[in-house]
């Protein structure tokens, strides 16, 4: 058997691939196809589908009512990514420049909240941000800093705060990994060649950590774009993202085909993002 496999590497490859491949085929690719097909069908009255081909769902997707939600979701996801990068890069840089022992402790501290239930953490923000009974507004009001409660809840601000908080670790980790790989003597070499601290960052540190920045941004942007729990809780039912619309189509409006069409559009956007990511990492690897 062993000899047979050694002589036929292709067979060996298929044997290694088949368990995972089978699982993904049944539970990922097949459902994806079902969603794809549903998106071209008509809705049944009480959910389900009627087997009648139509483009109507995709036409409706571009109806401003829904398409604006798409744009707003993208806007929220981009802002989330931006703020994660703004907070995450210095943090990653700080961790990467500590001693090995301090580093592992700090990485652990970074990851522990990430391993806690996401729902619980989001509800924790609810108690902080709520307009009239939230901790922040209550504290500021009783201290006399503000006269009326700040609009901290039920808007894009609350959603972005929740998302940035939730996805910050996945921004930090790849940037940290890129900075950790960076040879410190490159920084010294740049200093030695008359570069100021700012020039060292712009010409050496930033370009060499870019693969980590791109990876982190993708890892934040994609789940942020499709997020559902955070806007449902912190959006207070007023500020919605595309994830909430999709779930409503399936659970409340009983319009499975339209939900499927919305899902397909989002999938396409994410796929484009992922392709861009892989292309840029391939290019970065070819450069390094």
């Amino acid at each position: 058997m062993q000899q047979f496999l050694r002589r036929h590497p292709a067979v060996q490859a298929w044997l290694l691939l088949s368990p995972g491949g089978l699982f993904l085929s049944v539970f990922f690719i097949a459902p994806l196809f079902i969603v794809l097909i549903y998106s071209f069908l008509q809705r049944g009255t009480y959910g389900g589908v009627v087997w009648q081909f139509t483009f109507e769902n995709f036409r409706r997707v571009f109806d401003p009512l829904y398409f604006n939600t798409f744009l707003r979701s993208a806007y929220i996801a981009i802002l989330t990514t931006f703020f994660c990068l703004l907070l995450g890069y210095p943090l990653a840089y700080f961790i990467a420049s500590r001693s090995p022992r301090t580093r592992s402790l700090m990485l652990l501290a970074l990851m522990i909240p990430f391993w806690t239930n996401f729902l619980i953490r989001t509800y924790a923000w609810l108690t902080l941000l709520r307009t009239n009974t939230g901790l922040i507004n209550t504290a500021l009001l009783s201290l006399g800093v503000i006269a009326a409660p700040l609009p901290l809840f039920g808007n894009d601000f609350a959603i972005i705060v929740g998302l940035v908080y939730g996805w910050l670790p996945v921004m930090v980790l790849p940037i940290y990994a890129a900075l950790d790989r960076l040879d410190p003597s490159l920084i010294e070499a740049a200093r030695d060649l008359y570069a100021s601290s700012a020039q060292v960052f712009r010409r050496v540190i930033w370009p060499l950590s870019l693969p980590g920045v791109v990876a982190g941004s993708m890892l934040v942007f994609i789940p942020a774009l499709g997020s559902f729990v955070t806007p449902a809780i912190l959006g207070g039912g007023k500020s919605l993202m595309i994830g909430n619309i999709i779930s409503n189509q399936f659970l409340a409006a009983h319009d499975w085909p339209f939900g499927s069409a919305l899902s397909m559009l989002m999938m396409t956007l994410m796929l484009l993002g992922t392709l861009y990511y892989f292309r840029s990492t391939l290019k970065a690897e070819a450069d390094a």
Binding site: D183, E188, A189, R191, D192
Partner: protein, 367 residues
């Protein structure tokens, strides 16, 4: 502070917590000189270099470059450039971009940058490789890029931190000669850190031998080898025999006594040694000759002569190393060149007499 000093270290100390890496080092490096800092790892040579470059700041003492005190000037404000041990080439830039980096940072104009980068690459024989990435070059080529990247800025002083350490022996030998030629051609002061004594002897105008954070001796290569002033230097540079002895007299001539009452004259004694002290007599193996009893001429006051037995022979091509057990019980190695085919070789167990000139015997403190 003399004018022709390119770099001067005045009583420089560098401590990392309780560890003193550089301990009261003073050095004067002349303009246009190829100066080496030589010593085993951890002797403080790299730390000294990094302080000149500005990567480390002295705990106390002062560093002058071209007569100007450097104080806490950062590396980018110092008129020196460094060739790093692992080259530290920027992996995301081409060879030409690497070489142009320093000129861009010091705001040279585009035309001049292009011309000088071209010249620098020609100088290190990498003319056609400007558009390659460092990863696409061999170790020797990367080494040349690192050199070009530093020299293109025409620094007052070039600092080199074991730049040949990563190359294989043959390439290293070739690069040694090339580096020396390059230094003479550009006339820039080179400060070269190495633990390889042969490399230092081959290239340097002067060498500072360092051990445990201190400079033991600064001398030209020949003086360093022939007249070491510390036991460590005698041991670290080349090979030598150490024979335990006791000082019998210091004047009119230096006399030491080996075990068994054998008294020998010596050429030099380390300062601070008194009559009766336990010492080490050092004689280089190539200074020792072997004679048969009938060959011996009359003993003069400047000749050392001890009877012994040939104990071991090691043939190494150009020479044969003869280990001789002296009457005193000590062993010495005599390195005899293999000059003639018809010479009758010594055999193991054969009685012999070792002889050397007293001037080649140097007396060091025991520890």
């Amino acid at each position: 502070m003399s004018e022709e000093c390119a770099v001067e270290l005045r009583d420089v100390v560098k401590a990392f917590g309780p560890f003193v890496a550089v301990n009261h080092v003073s050095l004067q490096i002349r303009d246009g000189e190829f100066f080496s800092l030589l010593g085993p790892s951890g002797c403080g040579k790299t730390t000294s270099l990094r302080m000149i470059a500005g990567f480390e700041m002295p705990t106390s003492g002062h560093i002058y470059i071209g007569g100007a005190q450097q104080g806490y000037l950062p590396p980018n404000k110092r008129p020196v450039n460094t060739v790093f041990q692992q080259y530290a080439l920027f992996p995301h830039m081409t060879v030409a971009q690497n070489v142009a980096f320093g000129l861009e940072m010091s705001h040279a104009n585009k035309g001049e940058i292009g011309r000088r980068v071209h010249e620098a690459l020609e100088m290190v024989h990498l003319g056609g490789l400007g558009t390659r990435k460092p990863k696409q070059l061999s170790g020797g080529q990367q080494q040349r890029v690192a050199l070009a990247r530093a020299l293109v800025n025409r620094p007052k002083v070039l600092l080199l931190d074991e730049p040949l350490g990563a190359l294989d022996l043959k390439l290293r030998k070739a690069m040694q000669i090339e580096l020396k030629n390059l230094q003479e051609q550009v006339g820039i002061t080179f400060i070269y850190v190495t633990h390889d004594q042969e490399e230092a002897l081959t290239m340097s105008d002067r060498i500072a031998v360092m051990d445990k954070g201190q400079v033991l001796q600064v001398a030209e290569p020949e003086a360093l080898y022939e007249q070491p002033t510390h036991r460590f230097t005698a041991d670290f540079i080349g090979e030598t025999n150490f024979i335990p002895a006791r000082v019998a007299a210091l004047s009119p001539t230096i006399l030491v006594e080996l075990a068994g009452g054998i008294r020998l004259p010596a050429g030099w004694v380390e300062p601070g040694i008194a009559v009766g002290d336990r010492v080490m007599l050092s004689v280089r193996p190539e200074k020792i000759n072997l004679y048969e009893a009938h060959e011996l001429e009359e003993l003069t006051a400047t000749t050392c002569r001890v009877r012994g037995v040939v104990e071991r022979l090691v043939y190494v091509g150009t020479d044969t190393h003869h280990t001789v057990r002296l009457e005193s019980g000590d062993r010495v190695v005599a390195r005899l060149q293999n000059l003639h085919v018809d010479e009758e070789p010594w055999e193991m167990g054969e009685a012999t007499t070792v002889q050397w000139e007293a001037a080649h015997g140097r007396v060091f403190k025991e520890a």
